[in-house]
Symmetry: C2
Subunit: 454 residues, 2 copies
């Protein structure tokens, strides 16, 4: 490797950026990875706004690019089902799949990020610079300007190519936007009218979990939803998804007494588990839930957007991280196919990947309504039961959720199209028939295969 060659500059050492940088370095590329924050391995994670992550097979396959999949699983807790909590304190166990091996894994963002930074640093041809925010990117000159926060000095970094993995608030994307009229950069950001707030359920004194461990807990209440994901230390990270405005919205819940009675009334069992409710609620920030789409992702073949920088999505399919990891996998396949001709690789990558990130963005918004609403709806429950039976009985039957989550051989777009068509077909049946026990499953599965999969 030419010591004077310009490096690949990767901006953003979050989950996507550190996996990408590690992989490129493993392929022998000279990589310089910049991160605006301090090294998470020294300081720990920023608290209060880390929706827990659900790692599934698309993500695991991608982590395998740098041999990090098994280590990641060791720090994760399998979640086999959603446990739905009703207002009267009763619960329902709703498996993610009729197949036992199909589950998702609760994992901490910070721990996983640290693992990937370790993997990246194992390469001699890779260097990480923390505390170094990107201020701007000069697309034409192929340089990026950074500030070194340790001495306050700004400097200009030359690059062979620049890859922006700097998340939903991407500085690289901002540079694309600034030159938009000449480059025809399509861009949209759209926010839900709901925000989120992190709370916490602490472990029992013996370190065990206070509620069932191997599942994702949901308290669906129409316009309000609370979820909880298990952590290794016996705690749960709880997230409230509430509207900003209106009765009991974030803007209205300004009085502790109001918050108290709202939780006691709507989420009585969760309320019991959180003596720390009031301090968590008022100390933690309210996060927004936005979808960002843009295109093209590359400029003249000398820069590229990946991960949340290219496609931020809402968290309701548990696929944001998996999608960003899969970006790296697809990108890596393009290098296999086209070699190190970056202009060709960037262009092939965006042509291949855009429809899939659009699909998971739309699916994630759909699932918001499904989670907070439908999971407590009679027809929906019947359909879910019917699908469980189908998945248990037939190797080749997959629900929409399973197609998206457990079938990495299908692209998100294929999974969306097939999954939506299946859903429509099954919902029609479940609205007409109360007695799903009488349905001929063999015939139904055959019908679905013939009508939807052909």
């Amino acid at each position: 490797m030419d010591k004077n060659a310009k490096p690949i500059v990767v901006i953003g050492a979050g989950l996507c950026g550190s996996l990408l940088a590690a992989r490129l370095a493993k392929r022998g590329q000279k990589v310089l990875l910049f991160e605006r924050r301090t090294d998470i391995r020294l300081t720990g994670e920023e608290g209060g706004r880390s929706i827990n992550l659900a790692l599934s097979i698309r993500g695991l396959n991608s982590l395998n690019l740098v041999g990090a999949d098994q280590e990641a699983l060791k720090m994760a807790i399998p979640m086999q089902a959603r446990m739905i909590h009703f207002k009267d304190g009763s619960t329902r166990w709703s498996p993610y799949s009729g197949r036992e091996g199909d589950y998702i894994n609760s994992i901490s963002r910070g721990g996983l990020n640290a693992l990937l930074l370790d993997k990246a640093e194992q390469n001699k041809n890779l260097e990480i610079r923390f505390n170094t925010p990107c201020l701007s990117v000069d697309i034409e000159a192929n340089t990026a300007t950074f500030r070194d926060n340790r001495n306050g000095k700004t400097f200009v970094q030359e690059a062979s190519v620049i890859i922006g993995t700097d998340g939903a608030g991407s500085a690289v994307r901002r540079s694309y936007l600034a030159r938009s009229s000449s480059s025809l950069f399509n861009y949209s950001q759209h926010f839900l009218e709901h925000g989120y707030k992190e709370l916490h359920i602490y472990p029992n004194d013996d370190g065990s979990h206070k509620i069932k461990k191997n599942c994702l807990h949901i308290w669906p209440r129409g316009n309000y939803m609370v979820i909880a994901l298990p952590n290794l230390d016996g705690s749960f990270t709880v997230t409230c998804f509430f509207p900003y405005k209106g009765a009991n919205g974030f803007e209205e819940l300004t009085e502790p007494s109001q918050l108290f009675s709202f939780f006691k009334e709507e989420f009585p069992d969760a309320f019991q588990l959180m003596p720390n409710l009031i301090s968590d609620f008022y100390n933690n920030p309210t996060g927004s839930l936005g979808t960002i789409k843009c295109y093209p992702w590359t400029t003249n073949g000398n820069s590229l957007l990946m991960g949340d920088a290219a496609h931020a999505i809402v968290p309701f399919y548990g696929q944001g991280m998996n999608c960003s990891f899969e970006d790296v996998l697809v990108f890596d396949q393009m290098i296999d196919e086209y070699g190190l001709d970056w202009a060709t690789v960037f262009s092939a990558y965006q042509n291949e990947r855009k429809k899939d990130t659009d699909a998971i963005a739309d699916l994630a918004i759909d699932n918001f309504y499904e989670m907070r609403d439908h999971v407590a709806n009679e027809h929906f429950i019947r359909k879910r039961n019917l699908e469980m039976k189908l998945e248990k009985q037939f190797d080749d039957y997959y629900s929409k959720y399973s197609l998206v989550t457990f079938r990495p051989d299908l692209s998100y777009h294929e999974a969306m199209v097939k999954g939506r068509a299946q859903d429509e077909y099954l919902m029609k049946i479940c609205k007409q028939t109360k007695e799903i026990e009488n349905i001929d499953l063999i015939e139904l599965n055959r019908d679905i295969k013939q009508k939807i999969w052909r």
Copy 2:
């Protein structure tokens, strides 16, 4: 008026900004109007990218707010019809309306802008600062930072309220975007795959127009379209709308010989009229055609976006300027209703206006396809003829185009909904019936009123 009171700061002295500033000053408000360009009255207009404007009744009604409507009409040329030019040199006269009084007016952007700056400056309580680009707006502090280009100095201006009328590339909107995650600012910019290029048809030696004066000329060729609007000096401003990519797209037409033969083949009569084709084509820039939508338009009641800054649209309905002028009219009505409580006025204004600017944005994109395509389509021509007959015979019949263009009593949104439903109904008839002469018009008009207008 308190001499020390903070002024209303209007940023952008284009068409919308100068009308708004003039109106606010006429209402007795202290107004400071900033413009990044030089005074257009001293230097004339920037050439090469000024799609000519079509002034119609919505715009005229709004100009009447400052008594500028009659003066504007004096510098305009009425256009009663589209004249469609076919490849074989034949033409078709396609009136905008079956009613004689319903026409649109070709007007120069520069002349109209100068008129409005004159109107604005008649007010002692208004001051205009040219050559003073806005660098940023501090929404929370209610201040804007400008650079005075005459001395290079930047300064901070305090404001009672800030109104951004600084066009599609709005600096004010950029400040909204920069704080987006906390303010839930929804934003999208989307570009057509077509760009535009300005050309020119010069007058005859005696100053007369080389082709018919009182119409908008169109050469529709599917994926390619050329239009021409008359100027007072006997010339026409010609605009080509071509795709960027593909055969004979802007990126491909790099050779004069290629351009030459393409025009000669596709637009033979226009080609004859433009001996200056090659120099115009290669000297003028290629402009992009973008739609910008965003919301909310106001922040905490201390700033507001208006005109193209809030809603840039493509030019194919001839309504961009009229819409921005009508913004001022609607805003003025809100002041009538709510007084000078800006937070209330801004909020009422955006609630009232957003659906209408979305509607005209969508209509303008539809019309792109209609103009370049449908005007040469058999069913469409039959439908257009049928509508002419309806408009001639019935006072209460208006085509979609007429509803949008000649019925300022209807909002754009109402015009769109009614107009689209009518179009669908008539297209169905025109696909079934070749002989529109046999249609009972009285019955048809009654049906439309009953089925669509109720």
